[in-house]
């Protein structure tokens, strides 16, 4: 009898710890986030929270830096993700042809994945330094006037684009990895069949391989788009959103308000909006994928 009793509640012991930490430090902050985005709060005492309805969200519409941040996020989403997608696909297809030394190439392309974005960002910051950076040294060496002493990260015109380049450099490997896995899963006999039918390699890729890796393409796009919206580390390490908010993205702008300026509610409103943007964009992508399948 005793045995039965312990069995009845055993699932609580198994699920309990994970449930506790998850509820306490993930779900609770989410609910609190939604709540304080509708309030005004100095962030010091929980007793001084004042409900203000949608005022934080309305304030966003008059905030031009918010739109700069959103625009930069969209730049990352459209420009970087398309470049990453097509380049990664091309490289994965080439690697799948098993050229000489493909394993070495593969490993090389994946290295940036395991290095933290912050360290990558700091490395490229040194790289791009207008006085001692390697780009500047190149310009000096070849006497390229227009590339000398350029404030790659310090001027409004170039800061965002410089970070975008580094972002592509850092994220490409992961997409190659995913495409590679997708290509491995393509049944070998289908490829053989196409070959027997006299199809060229290019035709086989176009008509057999590409249609078969549709699902993995969807995964690559959704992950890359989500990452581009949530971007934080790289911007923080390279420009801190500067100069004068020119390279700000939503996550760094949220941090700026929440932590640098102490505008807790306003910062949280940005965060909540970011959350809804990501959810809606992911949903839209899934719906489009469904429609295309039909």
């Amino acid at each position: 009898m005793k045995n039965k009793r312990t069995n009845r509640y055993a699932h609580l012991i198994f699920i309990g710890p994970a449930f506790f930490f998850y509820t306490m430090f993930w779900i609770t902050p989410t609910l609190v986030a939604i709540w304080i985005s509708f309030t005004r709060w100095n962030g010091i005492s929980w007793a001084h929270i004042k409900w203000t309805g949608f005022s934080n969200y309305l304030k966003l519409f008059n905030d031009r830096f918010f739109f700069t941040a959103l625009q930069n996020n969209l730049l990352f989403v459209f420009v970087c993700v398309s470049i990453i997608f097509f380049t990664a696909l091309a490289i994965a297809l080439i690697l799948n042809l098993r050229p000489f030394g493909w394993r070495m190439f593969q490993t090389t392309f994946f290295v940036p994945i395991v290095i933290s974005s912050v360290v990558v960002g700091l490395l490229f910051k040194l790289f791009l330094s207008p006085t001692t950076g390697i780009i500047n040294e190149f310009a000096d060496y070849f006497n390229l006037e227009s590339f000398k002493n350029v404030q790659w990260l310090g001027s409004k015109e170039t800061a965002t684009y410089s970070v975008m380049t580094v972002y592509i450099w850092r994220d490409l490997g992961f997409s190659i990895l995913l495409f590679g896995a997708g290509l491995q899963a393509v049944p070998k006999d289908l490829i053989e069949a196409a070959k027997i039918d006299g199809a060229s390699v290019l035709a086989t890729i176009r008509f057999v391989t590409i249609p078969l890796i549709r699902n993995i393409s969807l995964v690559v796009i959704i992950l890359a788009v989500t990452n581009a919206f949530l971007l934080f580390d790289l911007i923080y390490a390279m420009t801190l959103g500067g100069p004068y908010h020119a390279s700000e993205v939503l996550a760094t702008y949220m941090y700026y308000h929440g932590f640098s300026r102490g505008q807790i509610s306003y910062g949280t409103a940005i965060a909540v909006l970011l959350f809804f943007i990501v959810v809606i964009v992911t949903a839209i992508q899934l719906i489009i994928a469904r429609l295309l399948e039909k």
Partner: protein
Amino acid sequence: MSINEIPIWARVLCYVLLITFAITIVFPFMWMVFTSFKSMEDYTNNPFGVPTKFVFQNIIEAWTTGNFLRLYINSIGITSVSVLGIVTFCGAAGYGLAHFEFRGRMLIFFYFLLGMMIPPQVILIPAFKIMNTIGLVNTYFAVIFTYLAWVPFAIFFFRAYFLGIPKDLIEAAKIDGASDLVIFFQIMVPLAKPAVVTVAIIYFVWIFNDFMWPLIYLNDMDLRTVTLGMMSFQGRYVAETTLKTAALMLATMPPMIVFLIFRNQIQSGLVDGALKR
């Protein structure tokens, strides 16, 4: 399909593309390694090439002033404890959700999945305020508890894995009089070893490289992780490019060496992580 079946011009194009990409990846790292062995004078005269004289001064100075030993102990300590916790708690939860019959089982499973949609950026500010209220800011617990909360993926992964283990095995053990905990630790855990390795790798890479949570929770110099320490190091020394590069090399080389040793496991782990979502 093989590369030999395509026209020669296409083959050349493929190789040119691959080599160009390989150079763009390798060059920054090579520059980093070379520069950290140069004196500042050597660097200004010869910014690209191999050091004319190998100097270890930068690396020694970066190691001591950057307090790298401390940074690595912190990073590895925080990461190991968190990964161990995640694997234990989520392994148990995944097993519980897969093999126990109780009311609301699916509901709890979906509740756990909800978190996959909530990125850390969203909860950063309130999480900090909550942690501050319970007085854990500036302790290791703040980051470790946060990482222990990131359960959705691990639970999802473990549940799927345990569902693949036949129920008969558990029934047989029960008839033999084994308790639930004995079944879990002595039968299930050994069987789930591949899943444990995958989850551990994914979380290790993620937690070791994480920056946002240490940034807000660990202000104390002695608590800093490698990424965080790196950030403040680069801010402190304004002019010395060689010293900065030396510090960056100390931050990149160990993860890179680990990656090169375990690259197959890490690659398949990361792929599994992305595709099973």
